[in-house]
Structures are given as structure tokens and as C-alpha cells.
Amino acid sequence: MPDRTRSDYDLCVVGAGPAGLNATVTAGERGLRVALVDVGVQPGGQYWRHPDERFPDTLPQPSATRRHGWREYRDLDARLDALVRGGRVVHLAGRHVWGVHPGRPFLVRATAAGEDADPVVVHARRIVLATGAYDRQLPVPGWTTPGVMAAGGVQALLAGHHVRAGRRVVVAGTGPFLLSVAAGLAEAGAEVVAVCEANALTGWAAHPLRTLQEPGKLVEGAGYVTTLLRHRVPFRTRTVITAVHGTGRVTGATLRRVDRRGRARAGSEERVDADLVALGWGFIPQLELAVGVGAATRVDVDGSLVAVVDDDQRSSVSGVYLAGEVTGVGGAVQSGAEGALAGLTAAADAGRADDPRLRARLRRRIARAHRFAVAMHRASSVPVDWPTWLADDTLVCRCEEVDTGTVRAAVRDLAADDPRDVRVTARPGMGMCQGRMCGFALSCLVSVETAVTPAAADLASLATRPLATPVRLAELAEMADGEEG
């Protein structure tokens, strides 16, 4: 059997987005031997997703290079390359980490993510978890119809594959990310029928100072708005999709005006034709590895479970550092700074020289970005009464096909009184995605029925996934053999 164990690393970084890349190069340049494990075949994560660089001539235009922060990505990629060539860093691409065994050393186990990469076990004295986030979703009648996609998935098809997932599109949910997706679609030639923002823009106006303190964000947002204006894309505030229509493929959606709490206004129904619906309600941090190693968690201002870190990105578990969205959704600038700080701290804790000036600068950047993120979350919150859009037969759990009525009945009739109870009783969240798509919605629905706000412990129980990604049984068996021998 091939030797799949990679021993003797000072640091293992999980994730190669803005946070993981910064952590890797910062620690590597300070002399640590680093293993970087990432799902992608090339670095960049979701934020810097771009077409496969092994085939530079096959795509019509290098649109990725116009992306925000692209120069920073190029710089990080070059530094990573130099470290890999110098033997300081090994980049284990195309691998999905499914478990971290705590201890010294940590055992980081990864399986092939899509291409036929070998599974690996990395032994490392310290780990940085920079696993990022995915789109938060709310169920709505018709949301399982093909042609309804997560806004991030629509973006991934555009940025990574130059594929436009539809011709006539409605983008809906909340948050500035919707603008970026709509602008990308419009530039790719799609007709964006409407961008529906559930909240009012006054939320932004209430915090102008915070917006000005983060000029990068302001410029980025202004760019999207300019694109949307040029393409005459209607931007509607306090508007949501309350139903998606079509059998077999999306044919349209019903839009409704809503009040502050998300209750649909009488008579505001409007039907639009579309073949693609892109939905996004903010982001959910990928927390299972952090929860798996026992890191302390809390509920963030956006209602997401996030992991707790100190001022230097240390988690509550010795030797485990956290960076990026796992510490609270804050965007690429904050993630990058947290990654660099985590790398710097890991290196200092391993006895390498510290850089107090860099540390202070990174902390300031993180604090500034965090203030912006808090304002953004307050302005882009999920309307509390969103469950009123659901019908009893609306699926909550896409995998196990558990509908709203069944979830409500589990609470009312079977006296299941927290999300975990409902999960084992009615099986929502027990399918292949392990509750990643429906976990947030499920906790909201249970909370409405029980009138109890979900606490960190409830959300952590939903985020506990002994295997972070499905693994083939043969691989588990083989690994067990290898470890005994």
C-alpha cells in the first residue's frame, strides 16, 4: 500500500481561500514546515474561484483578473509557489478533510474531493482551520425545482467555469453578495429580471461612518451598482420570493413586498417569468472541524454559530488556530488579515520570531473589518417572520424530503423541543448534506414553535458531524489497516 501518511509538519492549514492562503505563506515564510490541504484543485477558495489554470487558452476572456483583490491573490499564489518549490510547504490540493484527531501531533485525515487524488493523513503539531462558509438558505415553496440555485453556486459557475446557469434570472435574499452575483450575471449576458433584497436600505444609511471606514468595500459595492444601473437591473428592497413556479424546471417566481418582520403585504403579489432563481441569505461558516476538535463556539450577530478566538486567532483548544469566516462572517479582507495573524501566531508559538508591528497592523485591520461586518449583518438580517412564507408541503430538508408540516408536527404533537430532537424524530438534516442546507431554517422553525431562541449549544449539536464529508467505506477500512501496521 502506498505511504499516505505525511508526518512531521509544524503546521497543517485546512482551506486555501483568503484566510488559509495568508496563514500558509505567513507561517511558511517564518520557517514552519506547512501542509496546506484544500478541496480545490487550485488555490483561491470560493472568493478567488477562477477557471482551471492548467487550460489557459480554453476560456473566452480572463474575466477573473478584473475581480476585486485579484492582485492580492496573484501575490499570495506566487509566494505559495516559492514556498512549495523550496520544500517548505506541501500543497495537498483536491482533498477534502473529513476528520481531525486532536492531540500532539494532530492527525488530519482527507479524502479525494472530486478528482482521483490519494487520500492522505497529515501529522502536524499545530493546525489552522480556515474552512470558509457556504450560502445560507431559507426554504420557500418550489425551492427544490431545478433552476433554483444558491447565489454562491451561480457565482461559482460563472467565475470557475464561465457558465451562465440561466437566461432570465431573479436574484433574491439579502446582503451585498446578491449585487455581486447579479452584476456578474448581467455582464455575462443574462437578463436579470430583479434583485430582491428583503431588507430596506435604511439599514445601511444608519451606519454611514462604518461604511466609510472600510473604503475597499465601498468601492467594490459601487462597482456592482454601476454595473446594475448600466444593465437597467431593477433593485427592489423589502421584496422577497414567496414561491417558485415550474415542474421539472423553473418557469417563474412570485414576488411579494414585505414589512420589516418579513410579513407579506396584502395585494403585493407579482408574478415574473424566469428560468433561474438565485437565492442567498448570507453565509454559514463551515464549523464541523472546529466543533469536532472541541473549540468553544458562540452565536454571532447574524445568528450563525461561529468559533471563539482570542486576539491572536487562537481557539480555546491548544494548538488550534482559526481564521476567516469560521470566526464570524466578515468577508475576504477580514479573512485574509485573520489568516496572516493566525500564521504569525502559530509561528511565534512554535518559537519563531514575532513581528509586533505586523501583528498590531493585522489586529487593526481585523477590528475595522469586523465593525463593518457587524453593521452589514444588522442591515442584512433574516426577517424573523420568514416561516410565514412556507406551506405545509414545502420541503425543509432537501435530502430526506421532510416537509414543513412534518417538522411542525414533530414539535407540536411529538413534543420534540429542540432542533436535535426534531432531527432524530422527523429526520430533517439526516441526509447526505448532514443538515448544512436546512440546519439554520430548522432551528428557526423549531424556535417559532417552542418560542425559545436557539442557543450556541443547540446550534453546535446541529453542526456536529463526525465525518465532515462522506467517505467511502473501503477508504476508512484501508486507513484503519494502515494505522495499525
Binding site: A156, V163, R164, M432
Partner: protein
């Protein structure tokens, strides 16, 4: 200009073009194909949803390997991609797709 970089995979007997580096899911979406799986309970069609490997809705059979994520599987020349329906009988062990 002739684009000689276009290759083809085979989806349920139909040729679907793709460009190297694209995923199976991207190739299918570009060809206007939006579903390739049928659910067990509601017998409902499914295709891409999260698009980034998280939701497992886009599962498809690729070269005889069942339950592959279309969004994470790179497209290859001559690849055989088959839609999935739980009501359809499985191949015998040792059969052509085993």
C-alpha cells in the same frame, strides 16, 4: 476562429460539449440540462443547487461510479455520465458498470 479546445462527454446517450477544466455539472448546465437525479420519496427531479460541493443534490453516475457530485467532478473526453433514478434496477455486481 475555430475553437478546437471543445471536447465532449456523453450524458444519457447525448453528446454534451465542455471545455477542459469545467466540471460535469458546469457542462450539463451550459447545455441547458438542469436535472439528472430523481429523489427517493417524491420522485422529483434535482440538479445543481449549492454548486460548491456542499449540498449533494447534484449526484450523478460517472463512468459507472454512482453518487458523484456533478459540481465537483471534472469533465473528461468520452466520459459516460448517467442520470440516477432509484426506481431503476441496479446493475448486477461484476456487470458493465460495476
Amino acid at each position: 476562429m475555430i475553437d478546437d479546445s471543445t471536447r465532449q462527454l456523453c450524458f444519457d446517450g447525448r453528446n454534451v460539449p465542455f471545455r477542459p477544466g469545467q466540471s460535469v455539472g458546469a457542462a450539463l448546465a451550459a447545455a441547458g440540462i438542469s436535472s439528472w437525479r430523481t429523489t427517493r420519496v417524491g420522485a422529483a427531479p434535482r440538479g445543481l443547487f449549492c454548486g460548491i460541493g456542499v449540498c449533494y443534490d447534484c449526484l450523478v453516475t460517472v463512468d459507472g461510479r454512482r453518487s458523484q457530485r456533478a459540481c465537483m467532478t471534472p469533465a473528461h473526453e468520452g466520459q459516460v455520465v448517467a442520470s440516477d433514478d432509484p426506481r431503476r434496477a441496479l446493475d448486477e455486481p461484476g456487470g458493465p458498470n460495476a
